[in-house]
């Protein structure tokens, strides 16, 4: 009996249920302290706001729009970033040429490009997707490049002894050995994509979760702002789980780890 209770407790603890309960309690207490829903809505008030936003379809639409923007830019950035990182990583000349710029562009966040990107890619979907592509491409390319540089020398030597050509070494050794770094870059890029899209939607959009958070302020709908914040966290959580689970299923043999540590952040 006691072991069953202990197992249940362990289960609850491991799933972070206790932590979330604690957050709700603290949140409620703070809201009680403020006693002003316009300033700090309680969990229940926020939930009510969420129901209202959900029932008229606005919330789902915002989530959908933001997700699509992120997905498009992230996929595009990944598609370009991986080959780019592979090429830069493989060529020492290119690496030396590009290295000085990395620590330069690292400090220019995607959102700083909003104005010029709006001019270049249009104020519609173009610049938003471009922002996310930029931030993704950079992180994915950088991580991929690091992966290439870190391929064990012995693996390359072994494949040379086994008669592999340079191109075969690239395709059958360097690329598979770098997969965990690519996935790590993609995961990190997902986080930065959220930062970029929320910024962009606050500055210039008529839809999206960032837009929801921004405009709710004008109507003093602080509960909707909270809903927006919560939804962002949830979307990020789901996206990260999706990447983890998918890579675990399809890329397991490449040694893609859960919660791989961040190698490079923008």
């Amino acid at each position: 009996m006691t072991t069953a209770i202990r197992a249940l407790f362990k289960w609850i603890l491991e799933r972070g249920i206790l932590s979330w309960l604690a957050v709700l309690v603290i949140w409620e207490l703070v809201a009680l302290g403020y006693h002003n829903a316009d300033l700090f809505p309680s969990p229940v008030q926020t939930f009510d706001g969420a129901i209202r936003l959900w029932s008229n379809g606005a919330l789902l639409k915002d989530i959908g729009i933001s997700s699509l923007r992120i997905l498009a830019g992230w996929l595009l950035g990944t598609l370009v970033g991986i080959p780019l990182g592979l090429i830069i990583g493989t060529s020492q000349v290119l690496r030396h040429m590009i290295e000085p710029f990395i620590n330069f562009f690292r400090f220019i966040p995607a959102i700083a490009f909003v104005t010029v990107f709006m001019m270049w890619f249009g104020i519609g979907e173009g610049f938003k997707v471009a922002l996310i592509t930029y931030t993704t491409l950079f992180i994915v390319a950088l991580n991929t490049m690091m992966g290439v540089v870190r391929v064990d020398e012995e693996k390359i030597r072994a494949s040379m002894c086994l008669g592999a050509t340079r191109f075969q070494i690239f395709l059958y050794v360097i690329v598979p050995a770098t997969v965990p770094f690519m996935v790590n870059g993609m995961r990190l890029a997902m986080g930065n994509s959220f930062a970029a899209i929320v910024g962009a939607e606050m500055l210039a959009a008529q839809q999206g979760v960032g837009y929801l958070i921004w405009t709710s302020r004008l109507y003093f709908q602080t509960d909707w702002i909270f809903v927006g914040l919560f939804v962002l966290g949830l979307m990020g959580f789901v996206a990260d789980r999706l990447i983890t689970v998918l890579s675990r299923v399809f890329l397991k043999r490449y040694g893609v780890m859960d919660g791989a540590t961040a190698e490079m952040r923008l």
């Binding site: 020398e153 012995e154 030597r157 040379m160 002894c161 008669g163 050509t165 075969q168 598979p176 490449y254």
Partner: protein
């Protein structure tokens, strides 16, 4: 064994020197190395850690370029790695392909040659069987023990049918039990395949158990092969036999006399395990 004298020289070095880096003050790791390995011979490079054994082996493989002189394989200077020289590395985790299973690792070289699937299968079957990994063909390297990983490395190299086998302390990280099993297996496989073997070790016992010739290296800097011992004992060798013991003392004293025993595993003598490396 006398007919071996007539056999062709496979690997030759006549005054090879190596230093890392371009600096003038940098010491030569190896200086004026002279070496002859004949076809089908089991040649041991024995020396203390850091004396340049791996460097010398890597030059034979074509991974590392000599600073002066050349290593010749069949009178051709070594310029780059090639499938005629297979390497078994010290660290299997760094050299095996973790995304390929056991069979796929063995077939890697064959696949690079665009060999057909059925043909690959025949060859990999043969070598998986030879190293005793047939039942583990679908496992991945991380699911194997240290000894099994080295078996896999050996099979991967053998499947590619190199003329020369280069081995860099392949059993150094194994426990004593596994090591002696692997030593016996290696001798069996070598007798079976007639490869020319250059085997690096710092373990004197291992050297006498395996080698037909033992090239004893001096300490770095400016290391070279200062003596070559012939081991004219039949396989499997008995580490407690008088001849073995005599030779052991001979080579060990060689290290002691020249004050270069540090790093070479001379160890307690006689070896506590009897029949080390003997065939089962």
């Amino acid at each position: 064994m006398s007919e071996r004298k007539l056999q062709q020289i496979t690997i030759r070095a006549n005054g090879v020197s190596k230093k890392y880096g371009d600096s003038v003050e940098a010491d030569f790791v190896l200086e004026d190395v002279k070496l002859e390995i004949r076809q089908g011979e089991f040649f041991i490079l024995l020396g203390p850690s850091g004396c340049g054994k791996s460097t010398l082996l890597n030059m034979m493989a074509g991974f590392v370029e000599p600073t002066r002189g050349d290593i010749f394989v069949h009178d051709q200077p070594v310029r780059r790695p090639g499938p005629d020289r297979g390497m078994v590395f010290q660290h299997p985790d760094a050299s095996l392909f973790p995304w390929l299973n056991v069979r796929q690792n063995v077939e890697f070289g064959l696949k690079m040659k665009h060999m057909k699937r059925e043909e690959r299968r025949l060859i990999s079957n043969r070598f998986l069987d030879m190293v005793g990994l047939s039942e583990h063909e679908t496992k991945f390297p991380h699911e194997l023990s240290g000894g099994m990983k080295q078996r896999l490395q050996l099979a991967r190299v053998l499947a590619n049918d190199p003329e020369i086998l280069l081995m860099d302390e392949p059993f150094g990280a194994l426990d004593a039990q596994t090591r002696s099993v692997m030593q016996a297996e290696l001798v069996r496989i070598w007798l079976h395949t007639n490869k020319t073997v250059a085997f690096v070790t710092h373990d004197l016992n291992e050297a006498i158990l395996l080698g037909q010739k033992i090239g004893v290296m001096s300490r770095s800097p400016s290391a070279h092969i200062e003596a070559v011992y012939h081991v004219d004992l039949p396989y499997p060798r008995d580490a407690t036999s008088t001849e073995f013991v005599e030779l052991y003392k001979d080579i060990a004293s060689h290290f002691n006399v020249t004050g270069r025993s540090d790093g070479v595993q001379v160890g307690a003598f006689p070896p506590s395990l009897t029949k080390l490396g003997g065939l089962p």
